[in-house]
């Protein structure tokens, strides 16, 4: 019995907000990310979850708008802040929760936790605990599509801070010279942990770095779902046509601290408040209402429905068996005849 939200719907060169089905799916997905992470945050606060946690609350439009441009057969690589990408690509909420709760039924059988959720079935090649670690992997998965004569696209998520790693440079260059079908989605939330983009780079936007590789780079309001989707769709189409990679930069903000150890000493309360007023979900709901795409009641019902799915995820995951130490030794290598 799966516990998923309805798949995202692409709308080509239309906006998501203009299409009721697409709008419903995208809004539900954003709620799912928000509510999943709020639940996780409180489980953590109540000592029911261990390890550390990187929440993307406030960045929902970036993950969901970008994933809306993908087909089921497309792939993603994700980051330490990956719950949104995972849900956007269609992951099961119970298996995600089970992983965070270190259960045998989790996506990684309790071996990976929040930073390593992968889901082969939905083309999620994995979150990554290494900043920029997924970027060369995305380029390679895209190379494979080319070598296999498939028209799938790989969407590679990473943060602003990741663009200062050598891995970013080498991988984007490889994708560029080989015209690989990959879309580099930079979720620029203004900080790499405590280090601001003003300090970490001398250019205004990460997209300005695209010129070094001879590929397109665009910067969009990452809290505007329609804007994110439009930019992502264009880059995905370009990649699928075999015209090579692009960088899409979504300007957004994380409401919560970087991780559990963050005291927010590097940014002001005012800045955080200001960004909270730019809530991607609120924004999208207001737009849907004013466009008449969905009514407030529909939206309220939809949010309530997602809330139930999260509740179910917690229930099912909590009662699932703990992951099993007995199988560890045999799990390091894939057995040669399997």
């Amino acid at each position: 019995m799966s516990n998923k939200i309805t798949p995202l719907v692409a709308t080509g060169n239309q906006t998501l907000s203009s299409n009721p089905d697409a709008a419903r799916a995208a809004l539900a997905a954003m709620w799912a990310v928000r509510l999943f992470e709020e639940a996780v945050d409180s489980l953590f606060a109540r000592g029911l979850m261990h390890g550390t946690m990187h929440l993307s609350i406030g960045q929902e439009a970036s993950a969901i708008g970008a994933c809306a441009a993908l087909r089921e057969s497309d792939f993603i690589t994700s980051t330490h802040r990956g719950h949104g990408h995972c849900i956007g690509k269609g992951a099961d909420l119970t298996r995600m929760m089970a992983e965070l709760l270190a259960k045998q039924t989790g996506y990684c059988r309790g071996r990976g936790g929040s930073m390593h959720i992968a889901d082969a079935a939905t083309g999620n090649l994995g979150a990554n605990g290494i900043v920029a670690g997924g970027i060369p992997i995305a380029a390679g998965a895209a190379l494979a599509q080319k070598l296999q004569n498939k028209d799938n696209v790989v969407m590679c998520f990473f943060g602003d801070g990741a663009t200062n790693e050598g891995a970013f440079h080498e991988a984007v260059n490889l994708a560029a010279i080989w015209d690989l079908p990959v879309v580099f989605v930079c979720e620029n939330n203004k900080y790499g942990m405590s280090f601001s983009t003003e300090k970490s780079m001398k250019v205004d936007n990460v997209a300005d770095r695209a010129s070094a590789y001879g590929i397109p780079g665009v910067t969009v309001d990452g809290n505007d779902l329609d804007a994110v989707y439009a930019a992502a769709q264009e880059a995905v189409d370009r990649a699928r046509r075999g015209e090579g990679p692009s960088i899409v930069e979504n300007i957004t903000y994380r409401w919560k601290g970087h991780s559990k150890s963050d005291k927010n000493l590097y940014r002001t309360k005012e800045e955080i408040e200001q960004w909270k007023n730019d809530d991607p979900i609120e924004q999208f709901q207001d737009k849907l209402e004013s466009l008449g795409t969905l009514s407030r009641d529909e939206m309220t019902a939809l949010a309530a429905d997602v809330r139930d799915k999260i509740r179910i995820a917690i229930q099912e995951a909590t009662t699932a068996p703990d992951s099993d130490p007995a199988e560890l030794l045999a799990s390091v290598f894939r057995q040669v005849n399997s």
Partner: protein
């Protein structure tokens, strides 16, 4: 020795502060070591005491940072680099191994690289396989690097100050689980000599040789064993390279039984070297039992707490291993 108790983190911070006050060429680079105070809070208030120039926040660029430290060291500075998790030394291996470790020798001896690289290693925090490794064996295998692993607050301070004094590149591998533990630490800028193992408990029946967090676990196991009437010597290796075998060989000669304890995966780990040194020396003739190792399993560190505990030695495992050892042959 003082009876002032401070934490392992505080001891490291105190060492850095004292070194920076004493020598203007000492400075620190790393990710989020400034106003954030460090991922594990080690740099703490140093940023406010010494400013952004000398407590230098960097972008997420481990290779670049370590390389910059090498370059600064070549021209008279004494950089201390903090790598947020020792797992990320993987990003910087070229500068650590192909540059820092080789320059003094390879370039003929005129230039040298007085650089300190601090990095937290080890499991136990639920951070999973990419944030929990113990990679000390890699560095100990590299000619030109010195490698220390402080197991107490006092040594965290003393070994770091010695590392800063040293005209060669020194890897200081700290254990995450020790940061919040307290111990007596001398207030003066004391040095713990690099290249000296320490006997931290004496017992006539067997020897436990340990590194990092396994030292305190071995001491706790020793307490429990004493109640069973088994008296064990515990040796804290402290410096993995250059390795001081003398106290280990003496203790083995005296007891004839030895258990080597490390958190890192067993296969080709550091304790294999300790075992091989004993087996190729005259110590082998005084053995009354095989040279046993108790190590991490050859498995990436898992996230789930019960799995994570299962793959690295815990106190009960040490106790059992010693009891078994006493029954050999």
């Amino acid at each position: 020795m003082t009876d002032r108790l401070i934490t392992y983190s505080e001891a490291i911070r105190e060492a850095i502060g004292q070194a920076m006050e004493a020598d203007p060429s000492v400075f620190m680079m790393g990710e989020d070591i400034g106003v954030y105070g460090g991922a594990f809070g080690v740099s703490g208030d140093l940023y406010h005491r010494f400013g952004a120039e000398r407590i230098r926040d960097t972008p997420i660029s481990e290779l670049g940072i370590v390389g910059a430290a090498v370059g600064a060291a070549l021209v008279g500075m004494k950089p201390i680099v903090e790598i947020q998790f020792s797992d990320f030394t993987a990003q910087a291996m070229d500068q650590i191994v192909n540059q820092a470790a080789k320059i003094h020798f390879m370039l003929g001896g005129e230039l040298s690289v007085p650089m300190v690289l601090r990095a937290p290693l080890g499991s136990g925090t639920g951070a999973a396989a990419q944030h929990s490794q113990s990679l000390e064996a890699w560095f100990a295998h590299v000619p030109g690097l010195k490698v220390v692993m402080p197991a107490t607050a006092q040594d965290a301070k003393g070994l770091l100050l010695s590392a800063i004094d040293d005209p060669n590149p020194v890897m200081v591998l700290e254990h995450k689980l020790l940061y919040k533990t307290s111990g007596p630490v001398t207030e003066a800028a004391i040095r713990t000599p690099i290249g000296k193992s320490a006997v931290v408990r004496e017992g006539k029946d067997a020897v436990l040789v340990a590194t990092g967090v396994m030292v305190s676990r071995s001491l706790e196991a020793a307490e429990a064993l004493a109640e069973k009437g088994i008296q064990v010597t515990v040796i804290d290796v402290r410096t993995l390279s250059p390795l001081d075998m003398e106290p280990i060989e003496q203790a083995v000669a005296a007891t004839g039984r030895v258990l080597l304890v490390q958190e890192a995966p067993k296969h080709v780990g550091f304790m294999a070297e300790v075992s091989a040194r004993l087996a190729e020396s005259k110590s082998i003739y005084s053995l009354e039992a095989p040279i046993k190792r108790l190590c991490g399993m050859d498995i990436p560190i898992p996230y789930a707490p019960q799995l994570e505990r299962a793959v690295v030695p815990q106190i009960p495992n040490i106790i059992d291993a010693v009891v078994e050892l006493m029954q050999e042959p």
